[in-house]
């Protein structure tokens, strides 16, 4: 922690390096000091926690994607991380690094948001647990204040809950930065045929990865077979998403894709 106290603008924490080194080579970041955090104990483990998981920040994203424990408990997360990047990138990229880099298009974020994960931040003033939804503050910005993100806690999810992740990229390749990504985790009451718990998370359509709260509200207690899904998809696109146009796609297309993908996800989840 004494090291954290000395953190100033010229020091960066090095985890997987897959974003940091690119930024350094582009001249976007100039440093005198890098602090390699990979070997700090406890940052490199996946631990079961009740029915949920605790992911060390320095665990490689590909390790998480391939972990039998993660596949069993949170297939949504496994699915999302499998397409975070190429095999080579996934073998170095860390879950903590991906979150702390805070790209609005971060591939790990929508699934973790839909699973209502929290992150543990450790600093000279102590520790705090922050819901992931409150962790991102802007494109490339987080609430970290001279702190180290040490763990990601993924709470146990309702048994009947199912999740699905869609990523629309310019190719089909895992290394593509997404144009839009959508993660939905939903619980339905099988007998009443209504949605009881729906979390919809969107990537690359706002300054940060977000929960589509307007869409979620419109689904709670609604019939699965009704029009609610369509309305929710429209709300997600029109009220929750605030996309911009960039080299990968226009704002219009992004909005349209939010609608298509949210509707598709809900339909897929309602079929199960």
């Amino acid at each position: 922690m004494s090291l954290m106290e000395k953190l100033d603008g010229s020091v960066s924490l090095l985890a997987g390096g897959t974003d940091l080194l690119v930024a350094m080579k582009n001249g976007r970041l100039r440093h005198r000091t890098l602090v390699d955090i990979k070997h700090i104990s406890n940052l490199g483990a996946i631990r079961p926690e009740d029915a949920g998981l605790c992911l060390g920040a320095a665990v490689n994203t590909r390790t998480i994607a391939r972990s039998p424990l993660v596949k069993e408990r949170f297939p949504l997360l496994s699915q999302a991380l499998a397409v975070l990047g190429s095999m080579q990138i996934g073998n170095r990229a860390t879950i903590g690094g991906n979150l702390a880099n805070a790209s609005p298009a971060a591939d790990s974020a929508p699934a973790l948001l839909a699973l209502e994960a929290s992150v543990k931040l450790v600093g000279p003033q102590g520790e705090r647990l922050v819901p992931l939804e409150n962790f991102f503050s802007g494109p490339g910005k987080t609430v970290l204040e001279r702190e180290l993100l040490t763990e990601i806690h993924v709470p146990s999810a309702p048994d009947q809950g199912r999740g699905v992740f869609y990523k629309v990229g310019p190719r089909g390749a895992p290394e593509d930065i997404c144009i839009v990504s959508v993660a939905v985790f939903a619980v339905a009451d099988a007998s009443k045929r209504i949605w009881t718990d729906v979390r919809i998370a969107l990537g690359a359509v706002a300054p940060t990865p977000i929960r589509a709260r307007n869409a979620e509200k419109a689904l709670l207690g609604q019939l699965i077979e009704g029009r609610a899904a369509e309305d929710a998809a429209r709300l997600a696109a029109e009220k929750d998403a605030r996309p911009i146009s960039d080299i990968r796609g226009s704002a219009n297309y992004r909005s349209a894709m939010v609608k298509v993908l949210v509707a598709r996800a809900l339909e897929q989840l309602s079929e199960r």
Partner: protein
């Protein structure tokens, strides 16, 4: 044609494969020479500006810096280019695009060179740029060059357009857009140049044309060509993008000034921003046919944005115009093709060279016609396909090896089998359809014919050396030459050494491009080997008292009936140490007339027919290629394994332009890495990619072979676009078909 060959037609693993899988093959950046300096290039951040002054003083004083050069330091010629010399080696007075080279730094380390670069101060007078070719053609547009913004104008004129369109029952007309494409060779540009003790220079480069490296480096240094020697290193892909030796000239300047070896390697970003690209085309095409589907008239205006410098613009535009009617007979043609200067990144040679562009437009209109005439796409093409009696756009009639109808027949079977898959209910929200595309291409350079020269030496132990100047870029031409020579000389392939990478040894055959190497140099090698063989057999015949025709060359001996005479014995008796023969091959052609485009410009033509089964996601606009058939016409396969590899590679490169590749220019190139310039990955390979090879021998080709390397790319965009257009019910007129564009078209239905 006899299939009785020992080596021709065999899938011999390429000769350099072992060194490559071991990591032992040496590319230019693998080279390090004692005392070597590292070169970095200062480039313009503006698309159009005058240079008021360049201050290099601070850069010169940076620790580790040995030389800093600007245009005024160039000892020889200051302009370079493959057809006209219009590109500044270093800009002295003005810059024409973002990325134009302005100054050079040579330093002890790459880091020092990079830091010193930042200290170079250029005072620019920024001028308004013109980036759109149509705006560039308007009066009052900023003049990129003093001679006006139209760099070249190629024409085809045949027949009576007015009458023909009057007679046409159906006329279809549209504007089409083909993107600016980046070659994206995996190895970025690299050159190492070192001064020789004798006052000359040696160049080691990644290049498609070692002799042009020699020509330009010697011109820039003010030396005779005989003083410059170029070694082509193993080259990590070219695709047309490594013909113009800019890096070589820049490295040479530092080597000359500092008197030390100098290496310049482009970063990927630098390569993406400043190296030349494939011409984007805007094409207005009008096609008229009669009731029976016979094509009567084709009118086309093709505008290619050639960027700041012409490079191969003249030749690309000529090729596009002369190929405007594809593999069909169209009696009346009016085509005007323009290379227009703008302040965009320059465009030059790239695999395809104008043919993929016009093929996209023409094949799309053919499908429009099928819709209007109620004809099946294959049937319409069959009714208009060329044969050995009909003239193509240039008026040339190919007397042999025109198997397009046979290929259409084969494609028809595939279309039928793909259509069976259509009948299976696709997943919800997916649209499936089958599309067809064909193309034809004249092999070799058609604007000006090119001659190949080969030297074959047969050694006393029966091994041989072949020297020929067409370099191997990985497409396997060295292996092809070895096979050809081995077949002629009766030796095993691994006893033939092919030297193509040394300008001191290998005769100049022009660039490895235009799908020409097998046809032109394969022929030259065959002729030279045959000459050497004949000479040996004549000598032996004299000794044996028989006719040379009764003798055979086999594995180091001359065989007569049951006897053999060793070459070693034969040679020493007749004061030979080796028997060396030279031969040339120049196809019998007539370049296209500048006013009409008519002539007989190619020695042979290659035809391609492709079929695609695609699936479009109605919600997202994403395209999946489920099945793809690429039929190619090669005359005769010299090496089936190599043929297959070329067709796979060409098809996937074409898929890139069809679905995802586009160099975007806003002032300068904005896709500055492989994260933003996207090329196909393993994920993009169709679920099933089938190759079909048709062998109808080309009588003037070596063992009946002709070229096909670009042919496998030419019709891909067209084929996929035709399938997608069918699937979504809207005509695709712009490539690449990004999911956003298709989504937009779907919403227009």
């Amino acid at each position: 044609m006899s299939n009785d060959h020992k080596v021709i037609g065999k899938s011999i693993p390429r000769l350099d494969a072992r060194s490559k899988v071991l990591g032992e093959a040496r590319y230019a950046d693998d080279l390090s020479l004692p005392g070597m300096l590292y070169v970095k290039v200062a480039r313009s951040p503006h698309p159009n500006a005058r240079i008021r002054s360049i201050d290099t003083s601070r850069a010169r004083n940076y620790p580790g810096v040995v030389s800093v050069l600007t245009a005024q330091d160039i000892p020889g010629e200051k302009l370079m280019g493959p057809i006209i010399k219009d590109q500044p080696v270093l800009c002295g007075e003005a810059v024409g695009y973002v990325g134009d080279a302005v100054a050079l730094v040579g330093a002890e380390t790459e880091q020092a060179a990079e830091e010193a670069l930042k200290l170079i101060k250029v005072d620019y007078e920024i001028l308004a740029p013109v980036l759109d070719p149509f705006k560039a053609m308007e009066p009052g547009a900023p003049q990129v060059h003093s001679g006006g913004n139209i760099g070249t104008h190629s024409k085809v004129r045949r027949g009576d357009m007015e009458a023909a369109f009057r007679d046409a029952t159906v006329v279809v007309e549209k504007r089409f857009f083909y993107p600016r494409v980046e070659h994206a060779y995996m190895e970025p540009e690299v050159a190492v140049v070192a001064p020789d003790p004798g006052g000359g220079f040696t160049v080691w480069s990644s290049t498609q044309y070692a002799h042009l490296d020699r020509e330009e480096v010697s011109r820039v240094l003010g030396l005779p060509q005989s003083r410059v020697r170029v070694h082509q290193m193993m080259t990590g892909g070219g695709f047309g993008g490594k013909i113009n030796p800019h890096a070589q000239c820049l490295a040479a300047l530092i080597a000359w000034r500092a008197g030390r070896p100098a290496k310049l390697r482009y970063s990927r970003e630098e390569s993406l921003i400043s190296s030349y690209k494939c011409h984007p085309f805007v094409m207005d095409m009008k096609l008229g046919a009669n009731q029976e589907g016979k094509l009567l008239a084709l009118e086309a205006t093709l505008v290619g944005n050639t960027g700041a410098y012409l490079l191969q613009g003249k030749a690309v535009i000529t090729k596009s115009a002369t190929h405007v009617s594809g593999p069909y007979y169209i009696p009346n043609i009016k085509a005007d093709a323009y290379a227009v200067f703008t302040n965009c990144v320059p465009c030059g040679a790239m695999r395809g060279y104008g043919v993929p562009q016009v093929t996209f437009a023409l094949e799309s209109l053919m499908d429009e016609l099928t819709g209007r005439l109620g004809l099946d796409p294959i049937e319409l093409r069959m009714r208009n396909a060329l044969d050995t009696t009909l003239p193509n756009a240039t008026g040339q009639v190919m007397g042999a090896s025109v198997p397009i109808k046979e290929m259409l027949g084969k494609a028809k079977l595939t279309v039928q089998s793909f259509k069976l898959l259509l009948q299976q209910a696709p997943a919800k929200g997916k649209l499936r359809a089958v599309g067809v595309g064909c193309s034809s291409r004249g092999i070799g350079s058609i604007r000006k014919p090119s001659r190949s020269t080969a030297v074959v030496s047969l050694h006393p132990d029966g091994s041989a050396t072949v020297a020929c100047g067409h370099v191997d870029l990985g497409q396997g031409s060295d292996t092809m030459m070895a096979q050809v020579a081995a077949e002629e000389l009766g030796v095993d392939v691994d006893r033939v050494n092919v030297v193509t990478n040394d300008t001191a040894i290998s005769p100049d055959c022009e660039s490895t491009s235009a799908s020409r190497v097998t046809y032109l140099s394969g022929n030259a090698v065959r002729l030279a080997a045959a000459k050497a063989r004949r000479r040996v057999l004549e000598i032996a015949a004299g000794d044996l008292g028989c006719a040379p025709e009764e003798l055979r060359l086999m594995n180091g001996s001359v065989v007569y009936r049951e006897q053999g005479v060793t070459l070693a014995g034969l040679f020493s008796k007749h004061t030979f140490h080796s028997v060396t023969s030279v031969a040339e091959f120049l196809p019998d052609t007539v370049p296209p007339d500048p006013e009409t485009g008519q002539g007989r410009p190619a020695g042979t033509y290659n035809f391609n027919v492709h079929v695609a089964l695609v699936e479009v996601d109605e919600g997202t606009g994403q395209i999946l290629i489920l099945r793809y058939l690429a039929l190619t016409d090669v005359g005769h396969m010299i090496n089936p394994l190599i043929v297959e590899g070329q067709v796979h590679g060409g098809m996937m490169m074409g898929l890139g332009s069809a679905l995802m590749e586009e160099v975007k220019v806003e002032n300068g190139v904005t896709n500055t890495s492989f994260a933003t310039y996207l090329i196909p990955t393993t994920f993009d390979v169709p679920q099933e990619l089938l190759i079909g090879v048709v062998e109808e021998p080309e009588p003037t080709g070596p063992f009946g072979a002709k070229g096909f390397a670009e042919g496998s790319l030419d019709p891909v965009g067209a084929t996929i676009a035709n399938a997608v257009s069918k699937a979504i019910g809207v005509r695709v007129t712009r490539l690449p078909m990004t999911s956003e564009r298709i989504h937009e078209l779907l919403s227009q239905r």
